[in-house]
């Protein structure tokens, strides 16, 4: 057997072996979706569409599930997940919008404006920001930003206004949005830079030759041509932001509270839970079948929305092919 392996491989054998290995990777991924879906099924089955509704704080629901024991009755699967979905949305959307502005501006800077010497600094910086582990971002959040916000930014009046319902410690929406923005901006910068460089240089030069100033030329020609790719970058970054669990779990305050937009700027200091952070917060209780099924359902929801978002990103980029811009 070993003797046979040492001989040079025939083409057919190499193709089949490599194909089989590749297929294994594919099968594992399909298995991932199937496994998670199977685990998540009971909670959807018992709750139906009202799963998406609003209801009691998640902590109470989770405790009920844990108390139901190893063979929970159907009623133990009761779950209303809207507060968590809301928490996910109001962190993700502002972070992506904020990140998009920073990412497009800094991509223009990197591709068109920065002197070569500065560019040699900015690019490693983007790479570093992308590779800092989320637990380190979370640590900065919980040990630096949260005390700062809690002690210096929240006024006593604001603490007072919500004293009956929730304690404002500084952990919450604002800190989470800021850190999440820093975490997803590099992704958008990378994709946007790629798109901007893919736009033929002659297009922009044409505009400059017509007497337009360089910045206007970039905005009107390069950025406009790369627009689909920029939107696609934002969509991909959204998918990343949805799945950020550890950092959000560290800075979100871990309290059942859904920030109310009607509170104005105070909402930025209110704690929340997102789908992903809840999975981390309740990882100890995963032995209880009802809670386990709920947590897998959150994961499945993230997977499905991430999948839908990537398909959207792909579709948005299709028009670029028309101009033979490959980005």
């Amino acid at each position: 057997m070993l003797e046979r392996l040492r001989h040079p491989w025939s083409d057919r054998r190499a193709e089949l072996t490599l194909g089989a290995v590749s297929l294994t990777v594919g099968v594992i991924v399909v298995a991932m979706v199937v496994f998670v879906a199977i685990q998540a099924w009971p909670t959807f089955q018992h709750n139906g569409l009202s799963w998406l509704g609003s209801g009691k704080p998640f902590k109470e629901q989770a405790e009920a599930m844990q108390n139901a024991g190893p063979n929970p009755p159907a009623s133990a699967y009761y779950l209303r997940a809207w507060p968590l979905i809301w928490g996910t949305l109001i962190t993700t959307i502002p972070a992506v919008l904020l990140g998009l502005v920073i990412a497009v501006s800094s991509s223009i800077f990197i591709v068109e404006l920065a002197p070569a010497r500065l560019r040699r600094i900015v690019i490693p910086v983007i790479r570093l920001l992308a590779s800092v582990p989320s637990v380190v971002y979370g640590l900065i959040g919980i040990l630096v930003l949260v005390p700062f916000v809690g002690n210096d930014l929240i006024s006593p009046a604001e603490k007072e206004s919500l004293a009956n319902s929730v304690q404002l410690t500084g952990a919450g929406l604002g800190v989470a949005i800021v850190i999440l923005t820093v975490m997803i901006t590099p992704i958008m910068v990378a994709l946007t830079c790629e798109a901007l460089t893919a736009v033929p240089n002659s297009w922009r030069e044409g505009a400059v030759a017509l007497g337009v100033n360089p910045v206007r030329a970039v905005l009107a020609v390069t950025v406009r041509a790369a627009r689909p790719a920029i939107v696609a970058a934002a969509v991909l970054a959204t998918a990343r932001a949805l799945g950020e669990a550890v950092m959000i779990s560290m800075v979100s305050g871990g309290t059942d509270w859904a920030p109310r937009i009607s509170d104005g700027t105070t909402a930025l200091f209110e704690p929340f839970r997102s789908l992903a952070s809840t999975i981390v917060d309740f990882h100890d209780g995963i032995g209880a079948p009802a809670l386990k099924s709920s947590l897998y359902a959150f994961a499945l929801l993230m997977l499905v929305s991430g999948f839908v978002l990537s398909v959207c990103g792909y579709l948005i980029k299709l028009p670029l092919r028309k101009y033979q811009v490959r980005a």
């Binding site: 991924v29 690019i123 983007i126 100033n213 990343r240 550890v246 999975i279 991430g306």
Partner: protein
Amino acid sequence: MSTLHHYEQAARAPMLHGPGRRSSPLTWRWRDRLALAMAWSAGILLCLIAGAIVAYFFVRGVQYLRPSMLFSRPQTGQTQAGTGGFLDPILGTALLTLIGVLIATPLAVAAAIWIAEYGRPSWLARVVETTIEIVAGTPDILIALFGLTVFQLRLLAPFSFIAEKGAVYGRSFIAAGIVMSLIAIPAIYTASRDGLQAIPAHMREAAYALGKTRAATIRRVLLPSVRSNIATGVTLGISRIIGDTAIIIFVLGVTLRNEAQNSVPIIGALRGTGSTLTSYIYENSPAGEGGAPQKAYAAAFVLLVFVMLLNLLVGRIGRSQADTTGLTVAGAVV
């Protein structure tokens, strides 16, 4: 004389329009000036954020990190000084990285070769490409949950151990390492595939003309020339693995020290539980047990140093293959 003077003045006078003169931002419309200011400030803002993070952890690291921490084991203690060092988490990180890379590299490189060189039938190639893209975009928390379910299957009990009530525990170094390989695969795959696709066709044609088979061409011509791409991919995969927390929390069964499952030398440790730098930081921050923020800072500093070294390495290896901005392929932010 007077005419010469006249000409000099004319040449010195500001020429607002016309060829050969760079327009100064001061003459632009305010919208363009705003855009210029935003682009510069966004670029500088990102540099400042990164600089602040590095500087902050450097200060904290110098303040709290003692060399003895790197070589002493964690222990329970009442004060922060009494909780020992983080030798076990460092070893845990190293072990998981080793397992993850050993599994991910052959799989990812094989998939990359198959996609780039064979890719038949094309629908199947597309399916494989799409699935790898799906893994790349999947949140690590979901991969962690998937790993936990898989390793809690009765069939896979040998990878961890059977807990008291007869359920499979599903958490061990080998389980976590296998799950970790999943998050390293996309980086290695993308880097190797791009390397293979960048090899000009005449290299292959020359090899075929010399009578080499396709398999031999891959082995003797293509693989050696994408060695640096594979190295870039592996480095990126390692930085994914050492930075991951969710998988550790779910599939490694965070324990204070690395606990071997039984006394069999290597297999016992592989089946046992433990912690890594990331889970150590998490547990020592106020989000976890909250006991020792100083230890969390020190460990985060060590982790950040590792990450920066890996970044440096990627820049070194990837210099020859960087795309125009060096961010997407060799830099692999995405």
